[in-house]
C-alpha cells in the first residue's frame, strides 16, 4: 500500500529536499511506495483556487507531512497550521525545522536592522525603501516548527544524511518511529584524544589543523585538543550516515560546526560547550566566534534581542 506524502519548505534553503533526492538507490525503491500529493519544490501546485474565490490555502490530505525550515512569517505559519490539519504525522525535517537553524541567528537583531542591511547598507546595493508588498508580515522572531504546531518526529541535520532520511521513511512506512543516534559527534569521531585540559586556549580557525595528509583521520589529533573550537562534544552524531564513517567536517579536517543540533532534544549547545571550556580553565571571553555557537539552534528563545547592546 502506498503512503501519501505532503512536503513543504518554509524558512529554509531547500537543501533538505536536495538531500532527500540524493538518497540514490534507496530513494528509488522508496519512491514506488510513496504517493507524493503535494511538494511545491518538485511539482506545481496552487494554494488557491484559480477562480480566486476562497482565501483558504489548499493542501491535500496525506498520511505523512515533511516540513523543512522554521517559521518566520505569517504565510509560513498558515501553511504549517494547514499542514498539521491535513497530515496525520508531521516530521520536522532538518535542523531549521527542529531547532531554528541558520535563519534563527536573525533573532539577535531587530527586523529594522535586517531591512536596513538588505535594502540600504549592504555593499553593492542600491538603497531602496522597505518592501511593502509581496513579503508577508514577519512574526516577532524565527520559530522552530514545534513552537507553533505539534510535531511527531524530528530529523535534524543540515541537511540530514540521505541514509537517515531513507531509514526514517522506511520506519514510518512500517508504522514505527524513526530512530536517531543518541550519542554526540565525539562518540563517532576517530581522532586521537590525548587528555583533557591539554588545550590552554582556543584559537580561531585561520590556520589549518596539524595533520599528515597521507595518514587517515584516526592518526590526526583531536581538533579541540589542538585548540580549535569544535562543537563535536555538544552535537548530535549522524552526519556521516549509517555506515559509521568519521563525521563529515572532521573528515575534511575542519572542526564540527554543530549542524545536527544538541545531543538531547531541548539541550543548549552554547551553554554546554562554554561550560566545558571554562570548567577546564579556558578563557571564553576572547573566543571570537562565541556569538555564533548557536548558529544552528537559536530558536526556542535561545537567541533574543539583547537588552544591553544594540546591533550595529
Amino acid at each position: 500500500m502506498s503512503l501519501t506524502l505532503c512536503s513543504e519548505a518554509l524558512s529554509g534553503c531547500s537543501g533538505c529536499e536536495m538531500s532527500l533526492l540524493n538518497a540514490g538507490g534507496s530513494s528509488l525503491s522508496l519512491l514506488g511506495r510513496f504517493d507524493i500529493v503535494h511538494m511545491p519544490i518538485l511539482m506545481d501546485h496552487k494554494y488557491f483556487d484559480s477562480g480566486g474565490g476562497s482565501q483558504e490555502i489548499h493542501i491535500p490530505k496525506a498520511r505523512l507531512g515533511l516540513i523543512s525550515g522554521g517559521v518566520r512569517n505569517a504565510q509560513q505559519l498558515r501553511i504549517a497550521e494547514k499542514m498539521r490539519r491535513q497530515c496525520d504525522t508531521i516530521v520536522a525535517f532538518g535542523t531549521c525545522a527542529a531547532y531554528g537553524g541558520i535563519p534563527a541567528m536573525m533573532n539577535l537583531f531587530e527586523d529594522e536592522d535586517l531591512f536596513r542591511r538588505y535594502y540600504r547598507s549592504a555593499e553593492g546595493t542600491d538603497a531602496a525603501l522597505d518592501p511593502s508588498q509581496v513579503i508577508p508580515p514577519f512574526l516577532e522572531r524565527t520559530f522552530a516548527l514545534d513552537e507553533k504546531i505539534a510535531v511527531d518526529f524530528i530529523l535534524p541535520g543540515c541537511p540530514p544524511h540521505p541514509d537517515f532520511i531513507a531509514s526514517a521513511l522506511e520506519s514510518i512506512l512500517e508504522g514505527k518511529s524513526p530512530q536517531l543516534p543518541l550519542v554526540s559527534v565525539c562518540d563517532s569521531c576517530p581522532t586521537k584524544r590525548e587528555g583533557k585540559g591539554s588545550a590552554q586556549r582556543i584559537r580561531r580557525f585561520v590556520k589549518n589543523a596539524r595533520y599528515q595528509p597521507d595518514k587517515p583521520i584516526s592518526e590526526m589529533r583531536c581538533l579541540l585538543d589542538q585548540g580549535f573550537l569544535c562543537m563535536g562534544p555538544v552535537t548530535l552524531a549522524g552526519c556521516a550516515g549509517m555506515n559509521g564513517g568519521p563525521p563529515r567536517c572532521i573528515e575534511a579536517r575542519v572542526p564540527c560546526r554543530g549542524c545536527h543540533g544538541p545531543v538531547r532534544r531541548g539541550g543548549n549547545q552554547i551553554m554546554d560547550i562554554l561550560n566545558a571550556l571554562v570548567s577546564n580553565g579556558i578563557d571564553t571571553k576572547n573566543l571570537a566566534d562565541r556569538l555564533s555557537l548557536l548558529r544552528f539552534s537559536g530558536a526556542h528563545g535561545r537567541l533574543n534581542r539583547r537588552c544591553v547592546q544594540k546591533a550595529d
Partner: protein, 154 residues
C-alpha cells in the same frame, strides 16, 4: 519604596551551598531576621555542582532572578568549588546576554555560615534590584505588568 511595576512580586531562586550559605540562611531564620519571602532556596552540596544549564532552565521557566551562593573564596569545603563556580558564571552571563536577559538578574555571591545578616541583606538587595528591572520576559504573565504611570511621566 514605591512600586515601579504595580502588583509585581519577583520570583527569586537561590542555590545555596550546604556548608556556608545554607547555614547562613538557617541562622537568619533562627535569629528571626526579616528578608523578602519571595525567595525559593534549593540546598546543594557546593556551588560548583549547580550546572549552568540549571540556571538557564530556571530563567526559561520564568524566574526573575537567580542567586548562586557559595562560601567565601578560599573557604570552600571542597577546596576550590566556588572558584570553579566563578569561572562558570562567566559562561552563564554570556548565554544570558544572548537570551536577552539582563545580567543583573543573575548573581554569584559569597556568604559564610555566620553571616545571617549578610545573607538577608543580599536577598533584600536582589529583591529591590529586580523590582526596578521588572518582570523577566520569559515569565508567562510578563505582559500583565507595566510600569506605573507615575514613573512613565518622569
Amino acid at each position: 519604596m514605591s512600586d515601579i511595576y504595580p502588583g509585581f512580586e519577583p520570583k527569586i531562586l537561590a542555590f545555596t551551598c550546604n556548608w556556608c550559605s545554607y547555614a547562613a540562611a538557617d541562622l537568619a531564620g533562627t535569629a528571626r531576621i526579616q528578608y523578602p519571602a519571595n525567595l525559593r532556596i534549593i540546598r546543594v552540596m557546593c556551588s560548583v555542582m549547580v550546572h549552568p544549564n540549571l540556571v538557564i532552565e530556571a530563567f526559561e521557566c520564568g524566574a526573575d532572578g537567580v542567586l548562586l551562593m557559595g562560601c567565601h573564596p578560599g573557604e570552600c569545603y571542597y577546596q576550590d568549588g566556588n572558584q570553579k563556580a566563578k569561572a562558570r558564571s562567566v559562561a552563564i552571563e554570556e548565554v544570558l546576554s544572548l537570551m536577552g536577559i539582563e545580567l543583573e538578574r543573575f548573581r554569584l555571591v559569597w556568604c559564610s555560615s555566620a553571616e545571617a545578616e549578610g545573607f538577608a541583606c543580599l536577598v533584600r538587595e536582589t529583591d529591590e534590584a529586580l523590582r526596578v528591572i521588572g518582570p523577566s520576559k520569559y515569565r508567562k504573565d510578563a505582559s500583565k505588568y507595566s510600569k506605573s504611570e507615575l514613573i512613565q511621566c518622569l
